[in-house]
């Protein structure tokens, strides 16, 4: 049995960092992730960890610090949000292509403008092609659990990993949580024993790649991302054996006989569960797929779960501004097409931007749309905005 506690999502992630005791943290504060390095720096100050804490002048430098430390053979971590994440963008690509398994906690927040501090996924989604593994959490518990699994996953495939949660909604909300004893955490995470590392032997990091080599390097990155799927499942199962909380690439909720379904990421999945409970009580066959791993993208799993439904909506807390759909919708639709599945009718819903509150009624509204589509076979507009004044 774990330790019964109540913590905010930011506190939970900082606590996971303390239990792991990594070698280096490079950090620059930005709302709403500021508390993570803030709590962690107090652990450093109190001597509860022996991490080298490196406060820097920007997020770009925070990620550069992590790259240097990880290349030396250390475990390096950081935390950020919003504009901080995209200010890191250049170095995110470098970390991934250098195959450095850095761990980055992201408390997701809208991007400017209009300037806004509240939650959506436009920060994380804007760096989705940087080559990082990306896990998303519904609750503070999942943010904590994902963090404890992060290094095992990233280090196994040689890719950096983002542990994302919803800014304020979980990062600043106190909720019950079950913590894992620190000895068990350390045994589970294990020691980092990289094959190489600048501290061991001279080597080139971030070397120039001519056209003769660049593409091979990228192909290897792509392979690592594909290989990560099995690793995420294996580590999630091992974590389950230890805690009773097993994790995979997706979580299916009431999908067995579902005729209408939504695909969603993050804290609103919990709100959707309540909406589905209420609709099920009225006899509706509705369900949800929660995407935990966005990178790698669980194409096969989503196709398998969706292929039997009549209608579905993919919920994006971000817009691609491509004039026709959100980013996750594009990937779900591509997955279905590639698998030759054309039966289910799917719409793209943009929701919850800049902290627009997502209510049980919001999700029920989406299911009302899906019911109409399922009954009439008429899909109508496929690109929709939820709870918005027009």
């Amino acid at each position: 049995m774990g330790i019964r506690e109540r913590l905010s999502g930011n506190e939970a992630v900082a606590y996971a960092m303390k239990q792991i005791n990594p070698d280096v943290m490079g950090a620059y504060p930005i709302t709403p992730s500021t508390e993570i390095p803030q709590y962690f720096s107090s652990y450093v100050d109190n001597g509860e960890v022996d991490t080298e804490f490196i406060p820097v002048e920007s997020e770009h430098s925070a990620m550069s610090t992590c790259i240097g430390a990880e290349a030396a053979g250390c475990r390096a971590i950081s935390a950020t949000s919003s504009c901080g994440l995209i200010y890191m963008a250049e170095m995110l690509y470098v970390a991934a292509s250098d195959r450095l398994p850095i761990t980055l906690a992201v408390s997701c927040r809208a991007l400017s403008g209009p300037i806004n501090i509240n939650n959506d996924h436009s920060d994380a989604m804007s760096v989705r092609d940087a080559g990082w593994l990306m896990l998303f959490a519904e609750t503070n518990q999942e943010a904590y659990d994902n963090y404890l699994q992060a290094m095992r996953i990233g280090e196994a495939v040689g890719l950096p990993i983002m542990i994302c949660q919803d800014g304020f909604i979980t990062s600043h909300a106190i909720e019950n949580i079950e913590l894992v004893e620190t000895e068990k955490v350390r045994e589970f995470v294990g020691e980092y024993k990289p094959e190489g590392g600048l501290l061991k032997a001279p080597m080139a990091v971030g070397a120039y790649a001519t056209p003769a080599f660049y593409m091979e390097a990228k192909r290897q990155q792509a392979q690592a991302m594909m290989d990560a799927k099995e690793v995420i499942k294996k580590v999630g199962a091992e974590f389950g054996a230890m805690t009773g909380r097993t994790y995979g690439l997706i979580e299916k909720y009431e999908m067995d006989d579902a005729e209408e379904a939504i695909v969603i990421i993050g804290s609103s999945a919990g709100t959707a569960k309540e909406a589905i409970k209420e609709l099920r009580a009225q006899g509706r066959k509705v369900g949800m797929i929660k995407v935990r791993s966005f990178r790698p993208f669980p194409s096969e799993e989503i196709v398998e779960a969706l292929k039997g439904v009549k209608a579905f909506a993919v919920m994006d807390k971000d817009d691609s501004f491509n004039g026709h759909c959100g980013p996750m919708y594009a990937e779900v639709a591509a997955s279905l097409y590639a698998a030759g599945v054309s039966g289910p009718k799917g719409i793209s819903y943009i929701y919850g931007l800049g902290g627009r509150d997502v209510r049980v009624e919001s999700i029920q509204h989406v299911f009302a749309d899906l019911k109409e589509i399922a009954e009439t076979g008429n899909i109508g507009e496929t690109y929709r905005y939820l709870d918005v004044r027009e």
Binding site: I117, N118, A173, I174, E175, G270, K273, G355, R359, V360
Partner: protein, 192 residues
């Protein structure tokens, strides 16, 4: 107690409504409940109206939205009654608890026809007398516990005592003052 109790706090930036909601979450957590305590974040500044929320339940609530139909509302600053629709969505089986020297009968006309219980507590006065400063948090917390029954009274008092002893280990007079403020508030809250 119902399976889930939802509470909305109204205060002004700097008055500690957020802290009070987190303290209530703590007290409920310590008596074995599932809790959520969260403020509504924005560009806060001293004196601006702020809102905070609690969900307290026997099973984990998975909902991550604000609360629109609360069982209880706590108003930490009486001047908000004319600025914010504090009873919006408030269930009539529930209650509103207001920090005020006035009686429930005097304040009811300001509450847009709210039909449920109206409770008042002079948290400012209690705080001034017992702590020497206007910290309305502790008395307001005690009043909502008394009115809602969301935590057993004795459990609450024991839990708060332990919490104050931990927080003010070097200042025993502060512990006593807070405990008196707590108990007085539970006795003096007027239910109308």
């Amino acid at each position: 107690m119902k399976d889930i109790v939802e509470i909305r706090w109204h205060g002004r930036g700097g008055q500690g409504a957020k802290t009070a909601s987190l303290l209530l979450a703590d007290a409920a957590f310590n008596t074995g409940k599932y809790v959520q305590g969260f403020p509504e974040y924005g560009p806060e500044r001293m004196g601006a109206p702020i809102t905070a929320y609690n969900r307290i339940s026997s099973e984990r609530s998975t909902v991550h939205s604000n609360i629109y139909e609360p069982d209880y509302v706590v108003v930490v600053d009486e001047t908000l009654l004319s600025a914010v629709d504090v009873t919006a969505g408030l269930k009539k089986e529930g209650a509103i608890v207001i920090n005020s020297s006035k009686s429930p009968a005097e304040l009811r006309p300001l509450l847009k026809g709210y039909e449920g219980k109206v409770c008042t507590i002079d948290a400012g006065k209690i705080s001034e007398e017992e702590l020497g400063k206007n910290f309305p948090n502790t008395p307001m917390l005690a009043a909502i516990v008394k009115v809602s029954g969301v935590v057993e009274e004795n459990d609450f008092i024991e839990d708060m005592k332990a919490s104050f002893q931990h927080k003010f280990a070097s200042k025993p007079q502060v512990i006593e003052g807070n405990m008196r403020a707590l108990k007085r508030s539970m006795e003096e809250v007027q239910v109308g």
